[in-house]
């Protein structure tokens, strides 16, 4: 049990990678504050996590022996972020780990100059500024204790470009920049900040993930064809499994990585190494 007694906040925890990380952390003894927007957004052309899915994540975690608290939080609202952290403090007394996992993949699928002002702002507000807002709420607690690990879930799109995903790529690159700068800010206080860059992750039905499906839809190609393209382009010729990402997140969360900060950990089967 590598996270016994640690209090962990996971955003975007209703399904997908957020759920995968939460479950893995619960199995390792962590207690969890599970956050998700738990409603749809009109400008996002696919359904977001629901409150039912969030509660389901919590139930799975409690079954694994964790204490959980859930809250619907929109990371675009700093007040909601701060209240959520207070909930964690009330219940768990502290916060040891923050996983900034909440993010959207579309509106995308357009050449850069076709992206509207509103679409651009939304993407950066959720994928980049949202992580900063959560960090702003959590970091003082960690700085106080001279301990803590913040994991920003970026993407291979944080290190290379993708056609027709300019706002997403910009946001995920920005998240790596934020990671590096914040890592330097907090290093003297022994709070670590790292970025995790998943490649194309298989949509696991149990986790109810749909990232790959939504990206395929943005590109107007069938999911299976999209998967095949990735499998072909990836040096290890396989899609990434959610457990691969959860395992990397666990390492960054636990003391095994105590000298690791400001790093960018790619889990992409070698995709960005070419």
């Amino acid at each position: 049990m590598r996270l016994t007694g640690k209090a962990v906040i996971v955003t975007g925890a209703a399904r997908g990678l957020g759920r995968a990380c939460a479950l893995r952390f619960a199995e390792e003894g962590a207690d969890l504050l599970l956050l998700d927007i738990a409603r749809d957004l009109p400008d996002v052309p696919y359904p977001l996590g629901s409150s039912g899915q969030l509660e389901h994540t919590a139930a799975l975690c409690e079954r694994a022996g964790a204490a959980t608290v859930t809250a619907a939080v929109d990371v675009r609202d700093s007040r909601q972020c701060a209240l959520a952290v207070d909930r964690a403090l009330d219940r768990f007394g502290t916060v040891d780990v923050l996983v900034n996992n909440a993010g959207i993949a579309s509106p995308s699928g357009k050449i850069a100059h076709d992206i509207t002002e509103r679409e651009w702002s939304l993407m950066l507000d959720v994928d980049l500024s949202g992580a900063w807002r959560m960090m702003k709420a959590v970091a003082p607690v960690m700085v106080d204790r001279r301990a803590g690990s913040i994991i920003n879930v970026s993407s291979t799109a944080g290190t290379v470009g993708y056609r027709h995903f300019a706002s997403y790529v910009a946001a995920k690159h920005g998240l790596i920049g934020l990671t590096r700068a914040a890592a330097l800010d907090y290093a003297p206080m022994r709070v670590r900040v790292n970025a995790l860059c998943p490649g194309s992750v298989r949509d696991d039905p149990v986790l109810e993930g749909r990232m790959l499906a939504e990206i395929a839809r943005s590109l107007e190609v069938p999911v299976t064809e999209h998967e095949q393209i990735f499998v072909r382009d990836q040096p290890m010729n396989a899609l990434i499994e959610p457990s691969d990402i959860a395992g990397a997140a666990l390492w960054l969360a636990a003391d095994d990585s105590r000298q690791v900060t400001g790093s960018v950990l790619t889990v992409d089967g070698g995709f960005t190494s070419r």
């Binding site: 409690e62 022996g65 207070d86 403090l89 219940r91 007394g93 106080d144 204790r145």
Partner: protein, 960 residues
């Protein structure tokens, strides 16, 4: 053993776990119970209430501290699969004291519906937020905690069953008593957090225990504890809260009983070592931060408290407190075994004489080289023959076997020949250094009552009825008899019980004292080390140290009794690191013995010169080793090529007591360990009354076993004080006066001297001895002597500063320089004060001891007289203008840390052998001519030295 964190908030929180009645709705029951609504967390636990998973969850929830910015109370309901549920309440103790927590619990259980309204006792939360993280509390001196484990909590259960109903009354006094014994004095500090009355939040008070009034019985001690607070001077004195700057390292939490459910008074140890006693419970719990306290030390502490409590409970009440045992007999045996006390019994005692052992080696390898000294080269046979001549000479002089014979010779072949010859004659040698002042030589000669002194020194003082003979004269006297073997003493002593040598060490009475060491001790030392160090005929040793320093005993006999080759290092080479380094390389020396100060210089030379060395064993002795200086050494000489051994020893226990092989890992860790006792030696750490102390607790080092010397020469009273029969083991042990502590694994940490004996550059100096000499000077009415370091990390910067009070009423000018001249006639150079400062009075502490901190800085005081200022002519002429002068004056100033004028003497301004080496190294770096250390000794004023260097520069700059 549990693991959690010991941050301050956790120590300030308490918790209560309640089983909820069926159908209870805590949200409803608690509504309105507290000023702020309590939000109740709900967690479903995937197990029945009695399963381990549920227990783990309860434990997790009830040990989770409250965040300082949140509400002061947290309520969590744990629902189990069997339909039952627990309510876990966690609260900040200062805001929700035990009584308030109890009321909330009763309310939640539905038992206190009648007590409507907001619960009293929930206080506004003290403001603790915003400030810096509280400073880490330091643990007890005896804790031996592992800093890496800081924050990890260990726990020990202490059974109180045997104490009956008096458990609580006995427990606090027992802890206080144990602590005072651990502290090695008559006082202890103990924190007490009393939560029993339920309404108060509990304050930390300091209890000051004055233990062991000679007439204080156990019963009286308990009575006085009950009457707390009592008058000053009595056993228990609570200190005013203002004095409590930092919480004590050890404390007790007295916790109320909760019938409502499982209560935890503090979620983390309140003190680095906390004993929690629950009202009416049959056991206490000791919790400790493993960063401050080692688990085995904590276990022992708890056992000692229980043992004392049991004696207070069951023993006769009239028994004096001082008779109560801290350590039970079985544990005492075990501790003594840890210190090697049983090792001696395993082996037959070593018997025999040094000279006979040498003769056996000489017979086995007569043509092997035994000695190399300044061109002389002696085989074992030659050495044996020449020593026989010396023995015969002594015999011809009618020096009876068993006599003491003075030997005052330079380090050369004659020294070794003479020492061996003295032993062969059945006598014991009394080594004296030719560089000692005449008064000290005379004192030693008279004190030891030697009939003969073998010396080549023309200036050796004449003492009535003492014959002075050169080694040559002695050998000549014996030349005829040597071959006949007529000199041989047939008076037995094959056992080696008779003295082999008498070495004088610094004494606190103001006079040196002679330590009488029998032959068999030296043989035992070799048996204890030869195998482990693998020393033998292939080894080459150096004789580096003065015969008057017992390190030389190890060098000479360690080499010659194992068939090795002994390279005698001339005095001036011992002062010249580079020359000595070259000697090591050229002679292929394999075994080197050094003081750490001297070796530090060698390491620097080694880094610069980088010649191939054959060294395979380096032994440190003479002074504490700071292992960090070895880092550059290990970088060039892996431990697998050259073993480095740190040895702690005392003249009175035959050179060495312990050995610790130092590894690069120890260097990184900054280890202070001097290791385990040698086989046949034993050690223990005792308190002032000679009682064995447990591992971790500092006290006086006692040494027993094969190395214990015979006695102090002519000092039966002092001998009886220091060489005592140990009641615990029945063996003779030596009370070293050194402070140390045993580690649980049997290794010793050496912590310096208990009295004011100090080491300055490897020399053991009793400051009182210097003080006594100063007090003997005309017009001195009081004196104090302190050792200061300009650079705390640099032993070479140590200097002895003396302060004297001069009688103004006496005739003549009051001049510290006269005092200095007086001291110079009596003290060896290494004991000479660097400065003598006249002061109006010596400030004293309350205890009547000189208050060192109240003395002026000798460097800044206007009264300070740099030694020999008297001899300085009133001239300010510069001996030579220009480069060399400026360079040399600036180098001297730099290392002496004081402005230097042309007439200043290097040594009276604080120069010493280590600084000589540094000055010469700096000169080399500034491209000044290379100068041998000897020259700085011979040209010791700046003007003389500059003149010498200039002549040297002119000589070397002649065109070729």
């Amino acid at each position: 053993m549990t693991t959690s964190t010991t941050d301050a908030p956790a120590a300030g929180c308490h918790s209560l776990v309640l089983r909820l009645p069926d159908g209870a709705d805590p949200q409803h029951l608690l509504s309105g119970a507290t000023p702020d609504p309590v939000r109740i967390g709900q967690t479903s636990v995937p197990a029945g209430a009695d399963e381990p998973t549920a227990e783990a969850r309860r434990h997790a929830e009830s040990s989770r501290p409250i965040h300082r910015d949140g509400p002061p109370l947290r309520a969590v309901v744990l629902r189990y699969t069997d339909g039952t549920a627990d309510l876990v309440l966690v609260a900040v103790r200062a805001a929700v004291p035990p009584a308030a927590l109890r009321r909330i619990a009763r309310r939640a259980l539905g038992r206190a519906a009648e007590e409507g309204g907001v619960l009293p006792g929930v206080l506004p939360r003290p403001t603790v937020g915003g400030g810096p993280v509280p400073a880490q509390r330091s643990g007890p001196e005896w804790g031996l905690g592992e800093p890496e484990l800081r924050g990890v909590v260990g726990s020990v259960r202490i059974d109180l069953g045997g104490l009956g109903e008096h458990a609580e009354r006995l427990f606090l006094p027992a802890i206080a008593l144990a602590l005072s014994r651990y502290a090695g004095g008559d006082r202890a500090e103990l924190g007490v957090l009393d939560l029993r009355d339920g309404t108060g939040t509990g304050e930390v008070v300091r209890v000051h225990v004055v233990e062991e009034h000679p007439d204080c019985s156990g019963a009286e001690f308990l009575r006085r504890f009950d009457r707390e607070p009592v008058t000053p001077g009595a056993p228990v004195t609570p200190l005013p809260p203002a004095a409590a700057q930092e919480p004590p390292a050890v404390g007790v939490v007295l916790s109320p009983a909760f019938e409502e459910g499982g209560y935890t008074a503090a979620l983390a140890p309140v003190f680095p070592l906390t004993v929690q006693l629950d009202e009416g419970a049959s056991h206490a719990t000791c919790r400790f931060d493993r960063g401050s306290v080692d688990a085995s030390v904590a276990h022992r502490f708890c056992a000692h408290v229980a043992h004392l409590a049991s004696q207070l409970a069951h023993g006769p009440g009239a028994r004096p407190l001082a008779e109560l045992e801290l350590v039970p007999p079985a544990e005492r045996e075990e501790i003594l075994r840890t210190g090697g006390a049983d090792g001696a019994g395993d082996r037959a005692p070593v018997r025999g004489r040094i000279d006979r052992a040498f003769e056996r080696v000489a017979a086995a390898q007569p043509d092997a080289v035994a000695l190399l000294a300044d061109g002389d080269r002696l085989t074992y046979r030659q050495l044996n023959d020449r020593a026989d001549a010396v023995a015969a000479g002594l015999s011809a002089l009618d020096v009876a076997p068993g006599s003491l014979v003075g030997v005052c010779l330079e380090r050369d072949a004659e020294l070794v020949v003479t020492l061996l010859g003295v032993l062969k004659a059945g006598c014991a040698y009394v080594p004296m250094d030719p560089r000692y002042p005449a008064q000290r030589l005379r004192f030693t000669t008279q004190n030891a009552e030697v009939p003969v002194v073998v010396t080549s020194a023309a200036e050796f003082p004449q003492v009535p009825e003492v014959r002075l003979l050169s080694p040559a004269a002695l050998a000549e006297l014996g030349a005829d008899r040597a071959s006949t073997g007529a000199h041989r003493s047939d008076q037995g002593d094959d056992e080696g019980d008779g003295p082999a040598y008498v070495i004088y060490t610094s004494g606190s009475t103001g006079t040196p004292k002679g330590v009488v060491v029998p032959h068999r001790n030296v043989l035992a030392l070799l048996r204890a080390t030869a195998e482990d160090f693998a020393i033998g005929p292939d080894d080459t040793w150096t004789l580096f140290h003065s015969g008057a320093f017992d390190f030389s005993v190890w060098e000479i006999w360690g080499c010659l009794l194992t068939g090795g080759r002994l390279v005698v290092v001339p005095y001036w080479t011992t002062r010249d690191t580079e020359e000595f380094y070259d000697l090591l390389a050229e002679q292929g020396v394999t075994v080197l013995n050094q003081t750490p100060s001297a070796f530090a210089q060698l390491v620097r030379t080694d880094q610069r010169v980088r010649r191939g060395l054959a060294l395979r064993l380096v032994v440190f002795g003479g002074e504490p080793l700071d292992v960090r200086m070895l880092a550059p050494w290990f970088a060039r000489h892996p431990a697998s090529d050259c073993r480095v051994v740190n040895m702690f020893g005392i003249t009175e226990t035959t050179v060495h007591v312990t050995a610790q092989t130092v590894t690069p890992r120890d260097v990184v860790a900054g280890s202070r360990s001097v290791g385990r006792p040698l086989p046949g030696w034993s050690l223990s750490v005792r308190d002032e009354r000679g009682r064995v102390l447990p591992p971790g607790v500092p006290g006086e080092i006692y040494v027993g076993g094969a190395g214990v010397a015979d006695r102090y020469l002519g000092l039966p009273e002092l001998t009886a004080q220091r060489f005592v029969l140990d009641g615990a083991t029945g063996e003779r042990v030596y009370r070293s006066g050194d402070k140390g502590r045993l580690r649980p694994d049997g290794r010793l940490d050496h912590l310096g001297r208990l009295d004011n004996q100090v080491k300055v550059r490897g020399h053991r100096i009793e400051l009182d001895e210097i003080r006594t000499v100063l007090l003997g000077a005309p017009r001195v009415t009081a004196a104090a002597v302190v050792v200061n370091r300009d650079d705390p990390d640099d032993p070479a910067s140590s200097r002895i500063d003396a302060y004297v009070v001069l009688d103004a009423a006496a005739d003549g000018a009051t001049d510290p320089a006269e005092v200095l001249a007086h001291a110079k006639a009596k003290l060896p150079d290494y004991m000479m004060p660097t400065t003598i400062t006249a002061v109006a009075g010596i400030p004293l502490t309350i205890n009547g001891k000189p208050d060192v901190s109240g003395l002026p800085d000798p460097r800044n005081s206007s009264a300070a007289t740099p030694a020999e200022a008297q001899e300085r002519p009133e001239t300010h002429e510069s001996p030579a203008a220009g480069g060399i002068t400026d360079d040399i004056l600036s180098i001297w100033s730099k290392f002496l840390n004081t402005p230097v004028g042309p007439q200043d003497n290097f040594f009276t301004l604080g120069g010493n052998s280590l600084l000589v080496v540094r000055v010469l190294a700096e000169m080399r770096e500034r491209k000044l001519p290379r100068v041998a250390p000897k020259q700085l000794y011979e040209h010791s004023t700046a003007a003389q030295f500059v003149e010498y260097v200039r002549r040297l520069a002119e000589a070397t700059s002649v065109p070729q």
